[in-house]
């Protein structure tokens, strides 16, 4: 394999894009449009969610901290009901009549006061509000968590001094103030790169076949592996550029919070672009014309869109469908990019996803090369 020949291919692909405004628009403007539509559709749309409060706090009246917190709940988001026991409240969440149970421990006010004045004998559990939300739909559970946290912060601020109150929403793994757009933005970026890279390679390669350029290349010293590698580098670069634009849009337009290392996220996305490029080349050998190539699009896009955890966690997907999720490269990319951006995870924690993507990349690139090497 000679790097200079592969690099010639990379340059060629990038030049092709540079000279073609239509393709440039497809790469950058279409995903921006998509993320904007989703952003507008899902930002702040959650209203009037029924939550069940179990208040075990023995303090009553003005001195009750729990009542203060509850009175600070944003009532446009939370529709508060009460239950006498945690099991009753959880039952309501389970049967779907409520979206979350909010449990204050007994002696809550007393414990907070005690800990605030330095008594270490009181366990932190006694000052912790437990939030048991229906996590299958982050679209709903996110605003609940945010609303509760806001109310707690407001209450503590009103006290005018440090108070050791915490909210345990430990099932909510992404940032406590996260909104739904924070949750799905990394996923949308991955899907956009996946879909457009596959589509572009597919169309470019069908073009190489129909225009005869592939004949010229296959009758030249350029090796099939160099052709595939050259395309891979080009689309890796394009993938990074795309995700940079999309991520900037998400931050500027929708205030998505980036906790982790952006470069690591870009690395993962470039890897996903290379996987998609391999897939695009493979599919191109089954299409004779551009119109036939386009027909592959739903097969490539729909499962990734619905089953790789972009809008709801994999855990919320029916068990019999989950194997499909696990054979989709996007599942690993979405998970890794989301973990980096929202949880601030490093390579030490996302490496299983990266390894999975590396395996996909090797297999797809090898198959793409083999299919090109095949002579009728």
């Amino acid at each position: 394999m000679k790097a200079s020949r592969a690099f010639a291919v990379t340059k060629r692909v990038l030049r092709d894009l540079k000279n073609d405004r239509r393709q440039l628009a497809l790469i950058f403007i279409a995903p921006l449009l998509v993320i904007s539509i989703f952003g507008v559709a899902f930002t702040g749309s959650v209203k009037d969610v029924r939550v069940v409060v179990v208040n075990g706090d023995t303090a009553v009246g003005n001195s009750s901290l729990s009542d203060k917190i509850i009175s600070n709940f944003d009532t446009s988001v939370l529709n508060v009901a009460y239950a006498n026991s945690e099991s009753d409240a959880v039952g309501q969440v389970q049967n779907g009549s409520a979206s979350a149970a909010i449990v204050f421990p007994s002696h809550f006010t007393q414990s907070v006061v005690a800990r605030a004045s330095g008594q270490t004998s009181v366990a932190p559990a006694n000052t912790t509000i437990t939030l048991l939300a229906d996590k299958s739909n982050p679209n709903v559970s996110d605003p609940i968590i945010a609303a509760v946290n806001t109310a707690v912060a407001q209450t503590i601020q009103g006290l005018g001094r440090q108070a050791p109150v915490s909210v345990d929403s430990s099932n909510a793994v992404y940032g406590a103030n996260a909104q739904f757009i924070d949750f799905f933005a990394p996923g949308i970026i991955c899907i956009a790169v996946w879909q457009l890279t596959t589509l572009l390679t597919l169309i470019s390669f069908v073009g190489e076949r129909t225009s005869g350029t592939l004949f010229r290349l296959l009758a030249s010293p350029l090796k099939e592996s160099e052709l595939v590698a050259g395309y891979a580098v080009a689309f890796g670069i394009i993938g990074i550029a795309q995700s940079a634009v999309l991520l900037s849009a998400a931050v500027i337009l929708f205030h998505v919070t980036i906790v982790g290392d952006v470069l690591l996220a870009f690395g993962v996305i470039a890897l996903l672009a290379i996987v998609s490029e391999g897939l695009g080349i493979m599919l191109s050998s089954f299409a004779r014309r551009e119109a036939q190539a386009i027909q592959f699009l739903p097969i490539v896009v729909l499962p990734a869109f619905l089953l790789s955890g972009v809008f709801w966690p994999i855990q919320a997907i029916p068990e019999w469908l989950r194997p499909v999720s696990y054979i989709l490269p996007t599942t690993y990319a979405v998970e890794a990019v989301r973990s980096v951006i929202l949880r601030g995870w490093g390579l030490d924690k996302i490496y299983p996803d990266v390894v999975a993507l590396l395996i996909f990349a090797s297999v797809f690139l090898a198959l793409a090369t083999l299919l090109l090497r095949r002579r009728e």
Binding site: A8, V9, N19, G212, A219, P221, E376
Partner: protein, 242 residues
């Protein structure tokens, strides 16, 4: 095996259909060989086998003494596909530079050869135009330039003059003759029978077979005709009767 191109009992099957049927022919070093025949005769298929793009179903093909397909011999082959085989979103220069790099040419080599070739095809002023902005004939001329850039020893030109105006066609053939005199071997397909007189030898192809072969003069004399068109028809009818 002294001949630059040698095909022996070559067959190519496409799902039971024989596109090339027991074809044998040789092209000598420094010779222009014209392959003539109607649509579907198998000319392109034969050339694709010689360029290593298709695998023969049976029989064998040699280029410069090497059995094809072979990854080494391609450096010395110049292939002009029947399709345009250019990147439409790239400029003339970008196309030439890309193919040059693929064949391992240096920047310097690309520059000098590009100049000479653009002069040859009379498109010096179009260097920075997109292929899409050129007329069909102009595109064809750039396709030829891309084929010649790496200075191959053997040329396989699949209808190099289609869509090219008569003046330029004449100058193409003059250039092919120059190349031949410099020792380059050429296998050229064409539908223009009148052009075939520039070839040292001609092969008539029909239904995947070679039905006649010889110099233009020989073919005319043997068939008692005064055009290659008529000569082809004579051979074609004889073949049909058999």
């Amino acid at each position: 095996m002294k001949d630059d191109v040698c095909i022996r009992n070559l067959e190519k099957d496409f799902d039971g259909f024989k596109a090339v049927n027991n074809l044998s022919l040789r092209v000598k070093h420094g010779e222009i060989y014209g392959l003539l025949g109607p649509n579907g005769a198998g000319k392109t298929t034969a050339i694709r086998i010689l360029c290593g793009l298709l695998r023969p179903s049976s029989g064998e093909a040699y280029v410069l003494g090497t059995k094809v397909p072979d990854p080494g011999v391609v450096q010395n082959i110049g292939y002009m596909p029947q399709e345009l085989a250019l990147y439409r979103n790239l400029t003339v220069h970008e196309n030439l530079a890309f193919y040059g790099e693929v064949f391992g040419l240096s920047k310097q080599q690309i520059e000098t050869r590009e100049q000479a070739l653009l002069k040859l095809v009379d498109l010096e002023t179009s260097r920075n135009l997109l292929i899409d902005e050129l007329s069909g004939g102009m595109q064809h001329r750039i396709s030829l330039a891309c084929t010649l850039l790496h200075q191959p020893q053997v040329l396989f030109l699949d209808e190099p003059t289609v869509g090219v105006d008569p003046d330029l066609r004449a100058s193409f053939w003059r250039y092919f003759e120059e190349l031949r005199d410099a020792g380059i071997t050429m296998l050229i397909t064409t539908h223009y029978m009148d052009e075939a007189r520039h070839c040292d030898r001609i092969g008539f192809m029909r239904g995947g077979r070679l039905i006649a072969e010889g110099s233009a003069r020989e073919l005319l004399e043997l068939t008692h005709t005064d055009s290659l068109e008529d000569a082809f028809l004579v051979y074609s009818r004889t073949e049909e009767l058999q």
